[in-house]
């Protein structure tokens, strides 16, 4: 292998990696690591909020928190998971790996990239700072439905801080999306045609497009709400001709594509990992790109399936579109299976998390089709059925894929392998805890337990399944501790990773771990979707022949 990693390069990297350097950096890799740490920190905080909620729900009666605190907890749990964890974590992977995947030295606008990151930090801190005010954090759910979120019903400063935080995060996300678009369309290495891009990069293209079209809508809606609250506006006040349903349209026109923004990057991650660990090329590359574009296009036409019970939307239309969007996702499942078919599967930790993803996301996807049917939605909307469904999608789906990505890419980012045994303990504990927590919720929802309640009457019979779910949540908490320990322990003492520990296909494996400041000292020729694999195969043939 002709990759040069001169010790001098490493020396310079080491000396530069101080705190000041991270604060002032415009290097996409360091910004990626900053995104990773910050997003995981928000995950731990938002997860802790969820554990308090589960503790409260374990038995009827109010034992742990009061109603006001409970309402703040689920509002900030949802807000943080959606805005400050899942999406920023996608940006962490995108920051670190899009330039590496396309053979570029950095993103198109490195300083804008740094600004994007710091705006995100400020956004998160602003939204959370509500907890430090006397009125507490925003208490109206991450969906911020009006009129409840108007100043009449939620006068606290925390509500305004929530609006400001989300406004900042919206602007930050939009700028980030522009940057990735410019990078991918303008900075690909010679030979890296669009149809040779890793699927992860294709998913970032579609995700960026969704962000660019929908985040501004949320920003507009939040501005209207801010004007209503603080400047005497009446956009959403029905008493003077405003319309509360307008908020729901604007919010979900953003909010449903947001779900795809929160899952597509991780479809990308899984689609990178499964072929490598099956030792086969991805099956149906072009079908995959087509399905991703189709999901992106359809996702603009499904928003009102969140609003069937308002009686103010066209049920059949939004039902049809919401069911149709399941089809391209189905294509992906078959492509993943066909990729594994007749392969030689190595069930290392990243692949194990991908398998968890496949099973759990399948459950999430299928229950989603139920919710696309208005009569069924009338029965289970706003119940724990929806809570279960959405966690199978965003936790069983996105979060399992996030961990797959971390186990897969941490060796590249930090130069050391993560511990395999601890990784497997983490996986099995999390899979167990996840199902024990969220599976009972489908039945709870069908039985009539509504969401966003701090308490339920004992005579409802909801208690046993809630206790089970709370026990499951403690197991999830334990599994996350195993991960945190593994991460920091391996980062210090793990086995050195070398350039290409997994026999990978894509360009990040052609450089050192971690890569030098400018990413590549040389690029392998790019003649297919698997340039690194092509080159190692060629080298093997030559050494044999």
């Amino acid at each position: 292998m002709a990759t040069v990693d001169s010790p001098a390069d490493f020396g310079i990297e080491r000396r530069r990696s101080g705190l000041v350097d991270y604060i002032t950096t415009t290097d996409h890799k360091k910004i990626g690591i900053l995104y990773l740490y910050t997003a995981v920190a928000f995950f731990l905080v938002a997860g802790a909020l969820a554990l308090v909620m589960r503790a409260e729900l374990a038995a009827p009666g109010l034992q742990v928190v009061d109603n006001q605190t409970y309402n703040e907890l689920f509002t900030m749990h949802g807000t943080a998971m959606m805005f400050f964890f899942v999406v920023p974590l996608a940006l962490a992977f995108a920051n670190y790996f899009v330039p590496l995947h396309i053979g570029a030295p950095d993103v198109a606008f490195p300083r804008l990239n740094a600004l994007t990151y710091w705006m995100f930090v400020l956004a998160g801190l602003t939204a959370f700072s509500g907890f430090a005010t006397s009125g507490g954090a925003a208490p109206f759910g991450w969906t911020g439905y009006v009129p409840l979120s108007e100043s009449t019903y939620s006068p606290s400063v925390g509500a305004d801080l929530w609006i400001m935080g989300l406004l900042l995060s919206g602007v930050s996300g939009t700028l980030g999306a522009v940057n990735f678009m410019a990078t991918i369309f303008g900075m690909r290495a010679p030979g890296m045609t669009m149809f040779r891009l890793p699927i992860f990069v294709w998913n970032i293209i579609v995700t960026s497009a969704l962000i660019m079209f929908t985040f501004p809508v949320l920003t507009a809606a939040l501005s209207m709400l801010f004007i209503d609250r603080n400047m005497g506006g009446h956009f959403f006040d029905p008493k003077v001709g405003g319309d509360p349903i307008l908020w729901q349209h604007l919010f979900w026109f953003f909010g449903h594509p947001e779900v795809y923004i929160a899952i597509l990057p991780f479809f990308g991650v899984v689609t990178e990992i499964i072929p490598v660990f099956s030792r086969k090329p991805l099956f149906g590359y072009r079908g995959f790109v087509f399905a991703t574009l189709l999901i992106g296009a359809y996702s603009f036409s499904v928003w009102a399936h969140h609003m069937f019970t308002t009686g103010a939307v066209d049920g059949p239309f939004f039902s049809a579109t919401s069911m149709l969007i399941a089809v391209p996702t189905g294509i992906k499942f078959f492509n993943w299976i066909a990729t594994m078919w007749r392969g030689k599967i190595r069930l290392r930790t990243p692949m194990l998390f991908c398998m968890g993803f496949l099973f759990m996301f399948l459950m999430g996807g299928i229950t989603g089709v139920f919710l696309a049917s208005p009569p069924i939605d009338f029965a289970v909307h706003d119940t724990y059925y929806v809570v279960g469904h959405m966690h199978y999608v965003l936790f069983g789906g996105s979060v399992f894929a996030i961990f797959a990505g971390i186990y897969y890419w941490a060796p590249k980012m930090f130069g050391r392998m993560m511990n395999e045994r601890l990784g497997k303990v983490h996986f099995w504990l999390m899979l167990l805890g996840f199902n024990v927590t969220f599976f009972p919720m489908f039945q709870l929802g069908l039985n009539g337990m509504v969401r966003r309640i701090a308490d339920y009457p004992a005579e409802t019979g909801f208690a046993p399944m809630n206790l089970l779910a709370s026990i499951g949540s403690a197991i999830i908490g334990l599994s996350v501790l195993v991960f945190v320990y593994n991460f920091f322990m391996s980062k210090r003492r793990g086995m050195p990773a070398g350039n290409d520990p997994w026999e990978g296909y894509t360009l990040e494996w052609a450089t050192t771990s971690p890569p030098p400041h400018h990413n590549f000292t040389r690029l392998p020729p790019i003649r297919s979707q698997q340039p690194v694999f092509d080159e190692t195969q060629q080298a093997q043939r030559e050494s044999r022949g």
């Binding site: 409840l148 509360p244 103010a312 149709l324 030689k344 308490d455």
Partner: protein, 242 residues
């Protein structure tokens, strides 16, 4: 090695998870709810089949195509098959079209409003409680967190609910109806049911509506028409006294 053994033992039964969940709506008590329950069963059966097929294929690949230790040979590097890909684009497409047609029929019936309801209940939701007015009488029942409402309704007669709110969005939800509707300020919602079974049923506010959202449960007592009539008259007397 122990891990991979355990892996197989856990992953394979995981394929049967949806069988447990299927057909588990509570017993519906309205004619409309029965249709929803049947629709749910259709969805469940198809979902279970899809889950078993897809999860089975994944599980099978995992077991059958695990790399043997020490085997460094590359597997066949095939990566495309247009006919196959068109097939598995078409199959889910057909399934969702079928599910949509089944949905459309039930939706029409569930949304159908009774022409001449025996009882019309004006439901007003507020932070945090309910005001139930029996249209055409002066009977009004009010529920608040300390004293939840108990309303009485007749069986085997069409009932229409008219939903209004003066403050925030709530949702009127009786789980055994398998139905709910949002109660929205500035927009009146209506729906009709015919209750088929006598009994006492719990109701909730389903849309988050602020501090005491969880304290909005109420009770519905479904009784025979005759008992309903005499109950309604008795209420009228009480009302006159107060």
């Amino acid at each position: 090695m122990e891990m991979s053994q355990r892996g197989r033992k856990i992953l394979v039964p995981a394929a049967f998870l949806p069988l447990i969940v299927s057909a588990c709506t509570p017993e519906p008590i309205t004619s409309q709810g029965e249709q929803v329950s049947d629709l749910y069963t259709i969805f469940s059966v198809i979902a279970a089949v899809i889950f078993v097929v897809v999860a089975g294929l994944i599980g099978w690949s995992l077991i059958r195509y695990r790399a043997k230790p020490g085997d460094d040979e590359l597997p066949p590097q095939f990566h495309t098959n247009l006919k196959l890909e068109i097939t598995w684009f078409a199959i889910p497409q057909v399934i969702v079209i079928g599910l949509f047609i089944a949905t459309a029929f039930v939706l029409v019936d569930v949304n159908e409003e009774a022409d001449d309801p025996a009882v019309t209940v004006d439901v007003e939701a507020f932070q945090w409680g309910w005001r139930f007015g029996y249209s055409g009488t002066d009977v009004t029942i009010i529920g608040i967190p300390q004293d939840p409402a108990e309303i009485v309704l007749p069986v085997n007669e069409p009932i229409t609910f008219v939903l209004n709110s003066d403050d925030v969005v709530h949702a009127f939800y009786i789980p055994k109806f398998l139905n709910k509707r949002d109660v929205i300020p500035g927009k009146e919602n209506r729906f009709s049911v015919t209750i088929q079974e006598e009994g006492t049923y719990q109701g909730f506010c389903a849309e988050f509506c602020g501090l005491l959202h969880d304290r909005m449960p109420f009770t519905v007592q479904a009784v025979s028409s005759a008992s309903f009539e005499s109950w309604l008259e008795g209420q009228g007397d009480d009302d006159g006294d107060s």
